[in-house]
Each structure stands twice: as structure tokens, then as C-alpha cells.
Amino acid sequence: MTVKTKQKTETRLMTGAEIVITALREQGVEVMFGYPGGAVLPIYDALFAADDIRHILVRHEQGAGHAAEGYARSTGKCGVALVTSGPGATNMVTPITDAMMDSIPMVVISGQVPTHLIGTDAFQEADTTGITRSCAKHNYLVTDVDQLARTIHEAFHIATSGRPGPVVIDIPKDVQFATGTYSGKDGVHKPTYAPRTEPQPEAIEAVAELIAMARRPVFYTGGGVINSGPKASVALRKLQAETGIPVTSTLMGLGAFPASHKDWLGMVGMHGSYEANNAMHDCDLMICVGARFDDRVTGRIDAFSPNSKKVHIDIDPSSINKIVRVDVPIVADCAAALEALIAAVKHRKGKKPDLKPWKAEIDVWRARDCFAYEPSDKIIKPQYAIERLYALTRERETFITTEVGQHQMWAAQFFHFDEPNHWMTSGGLGTMGYGLPAAVGVQCAHPEALVIDIAGEASIQMMMQELSTAVQFCLPVKVFILNNEWMGMVRQWQELLHGERYSHSYSESLPDFVKLAEAMGAHGIRCEDPAQLDDKIMEMIEHPGPVLFDCMIEKDGNCLPMIPSGSAHNEMILGQITGNEIGETGRKLV
């Protein structure tokens, strides 16, 4: 951009609504997800004339938020959602919280009643900044049109830098109508906001030293590696190649390290692999990269990896020592820290440690084959369904989203990822209903790719109206429902913890998903026979439009292996649930 045109854009007078669109354009926004209403009509009016920003009309504001999240996770860009005041904004609270928990960059623009009506309980008024204060990274109520452009640019900066997260901009209707000055994104600077991204050299040296000493090291990686961008995944692979250290990952970090690699241990945590959890428990050096010692990962905290030195790389200082005391904290961007570590490890002279005995030990755990299940030619086993789905899609560019529950864990266990940004799931908040709208967002960003929402019959009903969005915008998302007619994970916990009293976890009065799909203008497929599964999955893949696939699976299958709550990594349930696995303390945990 030349200096002349820059000046021109920076001093232009326009309405608040035009400022919003101009600022989004300057931020490079190509797609946004939204739903109109009284308090955002001026912005929608400005959008009417903006051909270069694609607006995806969802069916529920929560869908807009999850779609923006899916878009963001699969591209690394900032997701954008636009909603009206009152119920529009309150319906966004779940996706905002979801994005906060999983550190997803998202800017939410909400309309607000005119400034003179704020505080009067006006029609569709809600205290949006008050409601979202604790669930967003930051939020604004813009009362001066001249501050609007600067605020939007600052919001994008905050949403996408440091530990990413959702930022809410609440704009009263009169501010959207008012005329003000547009200012460009250059020079927007918030002095109190300065995330540290570069690692401390002494700490890097200390880690290189620990790596040289370790005989049983493990990498424990998380969503931070993915948020840090493709460079971080590349650096992780290089550092692993340099050191030979085995790698496990949280649910959020799947894909940062290739699942096809010989040193990949599988996912860690409650439903992670036996080898990953035992390696975490028995290691002498744990290098945590962009993960946060979440309770689903650590299990019982006083028995968590008792004999290891711990290194924690995280861009958020409040994550350090939050749950687990670490020996070497490194506050930095994952990519910067990993690259510095590669250089430090390469620079060291001397023999590399022999990890063969450690890997032999891991191979013994691996040989337990913890994900094994009894095959059946009568009913479709959920594990088998995901295995086949993976096998039949692996040659394609495939993105997977999920809802929340058993199907989510089976997807994490049996679908394998070799690249980052291909796996979208609600990890921290555990939001049922996330998967379908997220798939809509992913498909918008990757129109040619195969996008599959692996769902459960209960979860899908929380946001299934978004199938209509997919139909309207010709987004050929595939919804693969593992239908066991139960809220499976609730049922599993009731079996485990509540004496098999299955209180309200049976999926009653289910819709006929095939007819439902047809009613909504999509294609419906049902499969009940394992012998037909491959053909029907191929039919789903080859169908050019959205598909609802009702895969009838084993009714009472449990998701195993499992670390029962309140137990340690080396106390996994591998085979059958007996009902006595969880003690009094564990029973009170979630």
C-alpha cells in the first residue's frame, strides 16, 4: 500500500456501521458467521454492499460462534461472528466460553440498544459486556464512534496474539448510525498488553542439559503447539528427530505430531493410551509444550508423574505452577521456544543419551494393545465404525470435528492425525453441539476438503438446525452419528459411579435421522450392518452435498481404556468396568 492511499483510508469519514465493515476488511476477514436483529441492522445494511466479505447466515447464534471457532482452528486465522443484542448476545455466551477455554482466536461483534436506552431494560437489552466479562479474553462497549475503528483493530490484536482467545465488541445502534473518523490498524497499541513470546536463554540451556541427562524423557504436547502456528509443529518434529524422545499429546494437541510416527504414544489422559499414560507416570523428564496439566490429563494429582523433572513451555504465565509445580518454567511462544531448544540441543557436544531401554519398556506397554475390542459381524462396534471411517478417508484432505461424549473419545482414539489444524473438538468446555456448526466453519475455509462431524445422537440434537445452514450455502459437511440411543458417556459414568441407575440418559423419541436429513434438504443414510458399513461410508463421501449418516452401533459399549477419576496414570481400567473402580474421593470429582 502506498503512503498516499494509506492516508486516504485513515482519514475517511463514514458511519459506524461502515467503519465496522472497513475495519474487518482491513483485518483480512473473508468470512463471517452471523444472525441479524434489530440492534445490528445498520451493520447488516453496510454488509449488503460488501461483496468481498462472505456472510454465512446460521440458524442460531451459538452456531455462529462455533462456526467461527471451527474456521479459526482449521485456518489459524481469527474467527468472526456478528450477532444482535439481548438474546443474540446471550446465545453467544457458550461459544465465547468455549473459545476461552480452548484458546481460540475469535472476535464477536454484538449490537446493543442505543446508548440513551442502556440501563432502562429496553427491548432486547442485555448487559453484554457484564455477562461476557469473565468468559472472554477482553471485551468492549463502544460509546464513541471515533473510537470504533481503533477498538476493532485492538480487538483483533488481542484475540490473535499471546494466548489467543475471544474478544467481544458491543456496539450500540446509535454508534452504528453515527458518523466518525476511520483509523487504520497501524499504530494501534495497548501499552498494558504485552505478552512475552521469546524464551529466556538460561531456561533453554537448562532444558538442553536435562535432555542430555534424561534416560526416560517424554514430550507432553497440547493445543498451544497448534495455536502457535505451523512453525511450532515443524519445530516439534525437528526437535523430536534430534532427540528421539517419545511424544504424547492432549486432546487439543492431536495432529501437531504425526500419529503415524514410530515414537508417537497416542493421546494422554482419562481416555488416552496405556502406553502414553504409563510413560507419563514413569518418565524421568517431562517436557510439557503448550499444555496446561488439565484434570482430564493428570488424573490424581498427588500421584502424577512422581519421579520426573518437569519443564513447562507456555505463553500464559498463569498456567505455570497452576496445577503442578514445575522445575523449569518457560514463558514463551511454543514455536520460539522449540526453535531455541533445537539450536541448544544441536549445539551440545557429547554422546546422546541411549533411549533404547526406555523405548523397550514403552513397547511392552504398547503390546497390551489397550484399544483392542471384540469384533462383531452382527452389530457395528463404535471403534470399528471410526476405524473404517479413517481407513476410507485417509487418502483425502479430511477435517474432523466432534461433538462431546463417547464418540468424541472414540474419534480421538481411532482416527489418526498427521497434520495440525485438522481436528476440531471442544476440549476444555466440553460443549455438546459444537461439532456441526464447527464443521460448517471448517468447510467455509476449505471448500474442497472432506469435512466430517463425528457425532452422537444426543449431541447432534443440540445444534442440528445448522444442517440447514450447510444446505443453504452448499457446504457438503458430513455428519457421522454414532447412534447408540444413549447419552453414552453419561450412561457409562452412571454404570461406573451410580450403581447402573440410568437416570435420564436414554435417548427417547429420537428423530428418524434419514427422514430428518431429507426434510432439511440433505441426504440421509442409515447403516445397521457391519458388512454394509464400507459401502455406505463411501456413499456418504461421494455424495456432493451435506449428509446425515445414522450409524446404529452397539448400545452399551464403554469407552475404554479409562483412568477413573481420582486415580493415577498407572491405574487404568483396560478391560471391563466392574463398578468398584472409583473410591469416595473420586466419586465427588467430575
Binding site: 459486556t129 469473565s134 501499552p191 494429582i301 500464559d316 470429582l589
Partner: protein, 189 residues
């Protein structure tokens, strides 16, 4: 490693369940939080404390630099060293928070509080109240035939002691500002 174990400490602030550091004693800290004076900033700080289950013993806030719109929030809190470390880190995570200074830890902190104390009584009690007020260098800022309002500044425990002494002498009501703090010496922060 001090990963904590078992059940939460009985008296400690109960944030993050399952995590505890029984071997760590609860400490009292005064934190000065320098923030951009923008709408909602106090709510962010207070919401952080309530949301994560931290304690606030006292809190004061006012703009201290109108040209740069800077406010200073002084918070007195309690927690184990681990919790206090988390409080500082979480405060710094708030976008409008520029700086958090641990006044207690610096060992150079001065802390003062102001209180208005209303005492009603006649005869000997009234004389005694006035005499104690003089010892404490409290000012009388309002008086009737049957009451005084004293203005007293000092460290919090001095004020508490003053209030205790006034209780049998006809204490009616107390209004306290909460703690203000600054560090000794020529340097800022």
C-alpha cells in the same frame, strides 16, 4: 516436588479443587495494581477474585493520573504463596492491567488506612473517648453534646485498636477506607 495431596486445606482459599499445598501457610499480602482507568476495569479485577475463589480483605481504587487515565487499585488479600503467585499472574492477564506490585513482599511498603469513627455518650465516657482520641492523634471532625466523629489515619491494626477501645465508650458506627500503600524511597513502583 510439592504437588499437593488429598483434601483441600481447611482454612485456605479454595480455588482449583484437588490442588493444595498443605505445607504452605496462608499469608496476607498487599498488592498495588496499576490499571488503565477504563469502564469495567474494577469489575474485571473483582470478578477475577470471586470467579477463582480468592479472598479480598480490603480494596481501594481511584484515578491517580488523569493525563494517562491511570488508576491504582490496592488489594489486601490472603493465600498460600502458590495462590498468591496465581493471583498476580491472573491479574497480569487482564488486558487493562499494566503492573502488579507486591507491596508486602518488597519489605519497603508503607500502608495507611483512614477511618471515621462515631462515638456517642455523655459524662465520663465522653471525656475518656476524647482523651484516647488525643493519644491516637485522631481529629474530631464533628461534634454534638452527645457525640463525636473522629477521623483517624494509620496502619490498619492501629485503627482496629482504636475502634476496640471506643467500643465500651459508646461506639455507634465505623467507616474505613481500606488500605492504601506505596513503597519507600525515591523509585516508582
Amino acid at each position: 516436588m510439592s504437588d499437593g495431596s488429598g483434601t483441600p486445606a481447611p482454612n485456605g482459599p479454595k480455588s482449583a479443587y484437588f490442588l493444595n499445598h498443605e505445607d504452605e501457610a496462608v499469608e496476607r499480602r498487599t498488592l498495588a495494581v496499576l490499571v488503565d482507568n477504563e469502564p469495567g476495569v474494577l469489575a474485571r479485577v473483582v470478578g477475577l477474585f470471586s470467579g477463582r475463589g480468592y479472598n479480598i480483605d480490603s480494596l481501594t481504587v481511584a484515578e491517580v493520573d488523569s493525563s494517562s487515565h491511570q488508576s491504582r487499585i490496592t488489594i489486601v488479600t490472603q493465600g498460600t504463596p502458590h495462590i498468591l503467585e496465581q493471583i498476580e499472574a491472573h491479574l497480569m492477564r487482564l488486558v487493562p492491567v499494566g503492573e502488579v506490585v507486591d507491596i508486602t513482599k518488597s519489605k519497603r511498603g508503607i500502608e495507611r488506612e483512614l477511618a471515621l469513627v462515631k462515638v456517642a455518650g455523655t459524662g465520663e465516657k465522653r471525656v475518656e473517648a476524647l482523651r484516647i482520641a488525643q493519644i491516637f492523634r485522631a481529629n474530631v471532625i464533628d461534634t454534638t453534646n452527645e457525640s463525636f466523629i473522629f477521623e483517624i489515619t494509620g496502619a490498619s491494626d492501629k485503627i482496629s485498636q482504636f475502634v476496640d477501645l471506643m467500643t465500651p465508650l459508646g461506639l455507634v458506627e465505623v467507616s474505613r477506607t481500606g488500605v492504601l500503600s506505596i513503597k519507600r524511597g525515591k523509585e516508582k513502583g
